[in-house]
Symmetry: C3
Amino acid sequence: MAGRALTLHPDRLLPADPGVRAVGRRIYEHIRSLPIISPHGHVAARILAEDAAFADPTTLLLSPDHYVTRLLHASGVPLDRLGVGAGPLSESQSRSAWRLLGEHWPLFRGTPVRYWLDGELADIFDVEQQLSADTADAVYDRIAACLQRTDFRPRALYERFGIEVLATTDDPCDDLAAHEQLRTDPTWGGRVVPTFRPDRYLDPAGPDWPAAIERLGAAAGIDTGDYPGYVAALEERRRYFVAHGGVSSDHSAIDARTDPLAPEDAQRVYRAALRGAANAEECAAFRRHMLGEMARMACDDGLVMTLHPGVYRNHHAPTARAFGADTGHDIPVRTEFTRALRPLLERYGTHPNLHLVLFTVDETAFSREIAPLAGFYPSVYAGAPWWFLDAPDAIRRYRAAITETTGFSRSSGFVDDTRAFCSIPARHDMSRRIDAGHLAGLVGEHRLDEDDAMQIAHALVVHNPRHVFKL
Amino acid sequence: MAGRALTLHPDRLLPADPGVRAVGRRIYEHIRSLPIISPHGHVAARILAEDAAFADPTTLLLSPDHYVTRLLHASGVPLDRLGVGAGPLSESQSRSAWRLLGEHWPLFRGTPVRYWLDGELADIFDVEQQLSADTADAVYDRIAACLQRTDFRPRALYERFGIEVLATTDDPCDDLAAHEQLRTDPTWGGRVVPTFRPDRYLDPAGPDWPAAIERLGAAAGIDTGDYPGYVAALEERRRYFVAHGGVSSDHSAIDARTDPLAPEDAQRVYRAALRGAANAEECAAFRRHMLGEMARMACDDGLVMTLHPGVYRNHHAPTARAFGADTGHDIPVRTEFTRALRPLLERYGTHPNLHLVLFTVDETAFSREIAPLAGFYPSVYAGAPWWFLDAPDAIRRYRAAITETTGFSRSSGFVDDTRAFCSIPARHDMSRRIDAGHLAGLVGEHRLDEDDAMQIAHALVVHNPRHVFKL
Amino acid sequence: MAGRALTLHPDRLLPADPGVRAVGRRIYEHIRSLPIISPHGHVAARILAEDAAFADPTTLLLSPDHYVTRLLHASGVPLDRLGVGAGPLSESQSRSAWRLLGEHWPLFRGTPVRYWLDGELADIFDVEQQLSADTADAVYDRIAACLQRTDFRPRALYERFGIEVLATTDDPCDDLAAHEQLRTDPTWGGRVVPTFRPDRYLDPAGPDWPAAIERLGAAAGIDTGDYPGYVAALEERRRYFVAHGGVSSDHSAIDARTDPLAPEDAQRVYRAALRGAANAEECAAFRRHMLGEMARMACDDGLVMTLHPGVYRNHHAPTARAFGADTGHDIPVRTEFTRALRPLLERYGTHPNLHLVLFTVDETAFSREIAPLAGFYPSVYAGAPWWFLDAPDAIRRYRAAITETTGFSRSSGFVDDTRAFCSIPARHDMSRRIDAGHLAGLVGEHRLDEDDAMQIAHALVVHNPRHVFKL
């Protein structure tokens, strides 16, 4: 097995200035070993409930992770050669996809994907050579061998990763059986909480909306034939999630608008939509109305509301048709918050039960809209950099953009938002290093005392996510 | 009085790199003691004319300052407990509000509010402990004791702060009696100039517009019953401000558009608006037309024109109803300048009398629109970072965003824009430190000679504001 | 000749931190002497074909360069005194304009214009004093004397600059005689390639469109009386450019939209436009349709497509009337890519022949839209910072904005885009220094190994432009 040694430098991601770095090291040491709180992500509860061995390196680390596959695709590797959207992979398919990753590994230089995967390979699988065309097979074998071992089962890794809470993302009709299984399993000491993700039930323009609404009614045991029943069914399913440990609902639409409809208009559009007779404008109006309704319900049932707007989904329809959703071609668009959220915030913005966490992939909103909103409304929090922005320089820009308006208390704490279970420790570690370095920079410019910086660093890892997500 | 010592580090806000910091220190020393030129702000002339003792610490430093109260509100402190929008406070109300500030002081770590207030406490009031729940009473007592002394009266502080010019912001109908009193007082050696702020008279959609127009006519001694009289009355009041030392007019609208109306359309909308019969679209068109008219008048009377667009005022109507305007929930929106200002600039952009200073709370406009405009039009200047952006990192981003396109000569010089009289020295000091550090960074990368950097630093404090504001 | 010494510091533009700077120096040394690949610019092939002496310093370095004249104009120097838009200048006009530059030279402190021009004066013309009012005449004389020498003829400078490829920008009807002359000249060893720039033929709203279309037909030898002939003529002229060495087409419109028209609608609008009877909306729809058509043709003929949208041309009509286009008042506007390009990318985004390089003067698009697009579509590349953004801090922001999403492989490599022939080496040198410093920063934070950084730096100068522009 040829190749350069894979080593993780202890000072990686800390500022280069020796004086600032020394402060950064101390801050990082103060927080590096704290438990991981992951209040929003896409790992399935079933994985931990079943606790089966992971299938193979590619299925675990490559094919389902659009962060990885998209840049390979941009460089000419067809998605089908990476196992994207495929069922279980044969050993040869899996190895062949992994070799493609090895061959193209230099593409990822300078990206967080490389940082995360290097961290996973070194820290979890004890790989000692950098991934490359030459080492791909050996690395594959090493990981595959690990995956056979019981100490690489999901629950063992959960323990090893030091996860305190892990939130999943779930369909409102999900019976949460896997969550229930974990909660009632005396051998399981972790905490996995569901997240209510109702997008498809709130947007009549989505595919098969009437069928979805019927499922919703069935799950709730409430007739959704008319608007009041539909609202009641949503309320019921939220209660179900609360009863099963859920702490938040998650919302992703192309815009963040929340204009309410008059009850009779909501009723009218609902009926039309069920018949497939609502036009695009009516559907959008209904979706925006329902986002406001979610806030109203949140004031009642206390679910934290996270908002992830501004992504154009399935930009390349041919890829979506061939490989399904979440395959790397969701592309951000400009996003407006100030006007969009005003109807919601005028009604519920100062309600003591509401926590509204705003995420964006349009960085311009951080200093212009999100920080000013989070710096006035007690309900609003500035969500951590998300998706394309979950990376060292982007996180620094986020801190620089929001802190002067909101300080640190209005920031959500880190959210890994990942489907890649093994990347969770590396992602949280990256966040801790960058925040430590950011705080060290403030100390280095005498804008903050070092003991205050220590407190803040600790709060960002522990207090902020617990408080913001009511954990 | 327990608590950590409050000390202001001599190198605060200077870059952490030792070599760059050494250059930054030298540049800062070169400018730190220069007089303060404050060409735009919200301190009332009356305060200096009357020269009465300030009432109490909370009224002086807390309750009227939405920079401070908004973050407390976000953290759950109701505005009424802070004395916001209230009349004179009793000693117990004032002290109780101050204690809330002390308890919540950690919220402000990393914000300029903390930097300014620490500077005020240490430099003006000789407070020696950091503010906290434990020290709040002692700090309160210390400030309250100072406020009894004659050397803490407004005029004494004006002298002590080293202010050379202070601009106020005034209603066009104001008789400027306080300004007149100061100008004719032989014991007063300062310079306080009024600023013509006509927003409410230019926007027919504003509250009580017909009544405002009637007041305008009365103040000008001109019948505003029809459009030409209205225009003449505005011209007359501008002349009145010029005669009383005014150097600029200030304009704040939700957008920066300046499309002119044909005279007959202006006339028609004006008449309709006086009857309360103009619709929203007509009102906006009239407002935009009048912004262009302001530029026309500026070419005649020479008043510098400052533009502060892009803030959604009174975002939370319930708070506005309970506490009034300027209570912390004005939120920025995206702002366009290139197309919006074209009608104005095509007509007046190269007029030798026009100075048009563009401010924004949408940072994206700095490199994209404001710098390119200021780098071509002799009338256009890039206004200093304003409001949410008046903070160390934001000022650095401003310099980095505009300098490569416009150099330093097209930058307005610092504008404190504050209603907090005691924060003026700390705000200007912050700006000087950040500019010194920015210039030191250019020297450190051999992009600028140190003697050039010294000259530029001096010009930014003295020459630029004098030139841009015709002082 | 009085004045401060003009020296170019060997470490200029490298990071100030001593450790990072040392790495940056090594990386820069690795790439500083590599040949210049200039795949997009505005130097005319005729200059090299004729190889005549340059006329005078002002005509060479000042009057045609709107980067230089715009800031002088902003500071009150009328464009006519700078020779803008004038024919050949007399010696006294040229010298007088140059003196104005000398007097106003401090305006350019902190701008790339100063960096480039200092580099040109020192490296090309061996000027030893900084430009100033006092030294302007001596510097002028020094340059003028050089221009008489055969080793300052265009071809000699091309050699001396180490240019490997130079792309020009050409009208589709151009017979490319100058290019042909160079290609068939046995004494010429360079490579000058034409670029197909069809804007005026694609936008029926442009001036004299019917006449332009007639010229197009004549050049192609194809009747453009109807839409199919027009399309065929464009295809023919593209082939002509390919046959004459062309590698790319260049497109600049106010927006980047690419919505296709149905053939019958394209036909209808085309006919109306030829009669001058198409309205603004139809003209825009036709222009957007034709941008998509250009992509279709690119899939056939292989021309790389560069897109430069988002500039409001001729913002100040009085200046445009007096001095012509490209005189300093083209101002950026907000630009959208995600939705705008979707129709094009859905059809051609994964076509192996398409290379689409996206440039912007709206920096917000880098992290939000351009990097995400370039990180998925194999056809899309993130164009280097352009025009107002071709400057040290802006280039750093670009790298920081795109690298975490796309790595380095999806970046176009540097594009000087200049009409100032003598600025080419200084511009490429600036880019190399900034990229070296950026990479050194990543090494300094242990985000990249130094040998990887060396490889990347080399690729950005050599591999990326060759690959992206198919050279």
